[in-house]
Amino acid sequence: MAIEVRVPTILRSYTGGSKVVEGSGDTLSGLIDDLDAKHSGLKGRLITPEGGLHRFVNIYVNDEDVRFLGALDAKLNDGDSVTILPAVAGGALGFAAAAALLGR
């Protein structure tokens, strides 16, 4: 059995357009290495050069944010479901327009 990984639209250029890919690993870090081996470049979009999770990337294991489960050391089991999402607050309009108004 493998771990099912849901990939957001903006990262599907790395997965040949696939919305769901499979991977394996005992930890999130291991899973990301495994995914990067099959979908080259994906790791660089998820992890910073310093080795932490990208600030604007949220990853969930069975719907729970990995930052509260040990981040890259979060333990994974076969059959787990992993979801990658971009960090966006309160939907699209509020933050985008607010940020623009503040000149960010």
Binding site: F56, D63, G91, A97
Partner: protein, 321 residues
């Protein structure tokens, strides 16, 4: 207290009600696990956002940023806009809201009723177009005041000073607090207060997971984390999809008679998850969660009836929380 000098003074003080039917059953002899709903729809405009709207306006008045007759600019079509419109009306300010033209007619009608002016951005242009419109307005009106709820400390302070103390007063045995994560103000303010007062309290976030269309980002670097957010206040954070949010919203009204919006269903979903965990671990739990608003504004989505799949389709591409 049931008598107030004005509507603004009636903000907060909402009831906390038990959910005896939705709370999980525990084995005989095991400690109780109970769910409690904080009914924020009982605020003046019917949502939790009345608290931060009032605090943000008062803070801006006290600091001199907002002067009589000023114009407030608010770029959301959600509950904050409606709350600000009410506060602005009663405190003597003009409110201008910028929103895409495809928001629900209930919202537009409510905002206009409270006296807000609305500037629409073309629906086809999505959030990018709304940003462009907002930029243009800002350039043309540098004197307009934006309260910016995502980075305004008065937003979190409203909950630190009101929601948190109310919860502790009504439920001194509280073990978990569960709320929605948008601007993060509710969780940051209430969470900080409860952490100071209740040893071992668990602060749990429920974040809506929208359909792909809603995000509308071109790349990861366009993401945004609100300035108010401090992860160290939280213990856990759940992502709740549309289907689970709708399912729980329906259960809330069918089983407990509480007619709520979909964000409350998402929060209940996370609350049930921690409640069931407590049962499995044989621990006592008093889980308080937030009912953000009533379901009235969302009836036109049609998502309260029909199959879950139909409801999911109806909400696809919408900001339901």
């Amino acid at each position: 207290m049931a008598r107030y000098e004005s509507l603004l003074d009636a903000c907060g003080g909402t009831p906390l009600v038990g959910l005896p039917r939705l709370s999980p059953t525990v084995p005989e002899g095991a400690p109780p696990v109970r769910l409690w709903a904080k009914l924020e729809d009982r605020n003046p405009t019917g949502s939790i956002k009345d608290r931060p709207a009032l605090f943000m306006v008062r803070e801006a008045e006290e600091s001199g940023r907002l002067r009589p007759g000023d114009t407030i600019l608010e770029p959301t079509s959600g509950n904050t806009g409606i709350s600000l419109a009410m506060v602005a009306k009663l405190r003597g300010y003009r409110l201008v809201c910028v929103m895409p033209e495809n928001v629900s007619s209930e919202r537009v009608q409510l905002l206009r009723m409270y006296g807000a002016e609305i500037i629409f951005s073309p629906a086809a242009g999505g959030s990018n177009q709304a940003v462009a419109v907002a930029k243009q307005i800002s350039a043309e009106h540098p004197d307009w005041v934006m309260l910016f709820q995502y980075g305004n400390s008065a937003n979190a302070r409203a909950h630190y000073e009101t929601t948190g103390p109310e919860l502790l007063h009504d439920l001194p045995t509280i073990t978990h607090f569960v709320a929605g994560l948008g601007t993060t103000g509710t969780l940051m303010g209430t969470g900080r207060y409860l952490r100071e007062k209740v040893e071992g309290i668990q602060i749990v976030a429920a974040e809506p997971r929208y359909g792909e269309l809603v995000y509308g980002l071109r790349n990861i670097d366009e993401g945004y984390v609100p300035e108010l957010y401090d992860a160290s206040v939280l213990n856990r954070r759940f992502s709740v999809g549309t289907r689970d949010a709708v399912l729980r919203t329906r259960q809330l009204v069918e089983v407990e008679g509480i007619f709520a919006g979909f964000s409350s269903g998402a929060i209940l979903h996370a609350a049930l998850a921690v409640a069931h965990e407590a049962v499995r671990e044989g621990k006592r739990a008093d889980v308080a969660f937030v009912v953000c608003d009533g379901g009235w504004k969302y009836l036109s989505t049609g998502a309260y009836g029909g199959t879950l799949a139909d409801a999911e389709d109806a909400l696809e591409g919408q900001l339901w929380a």
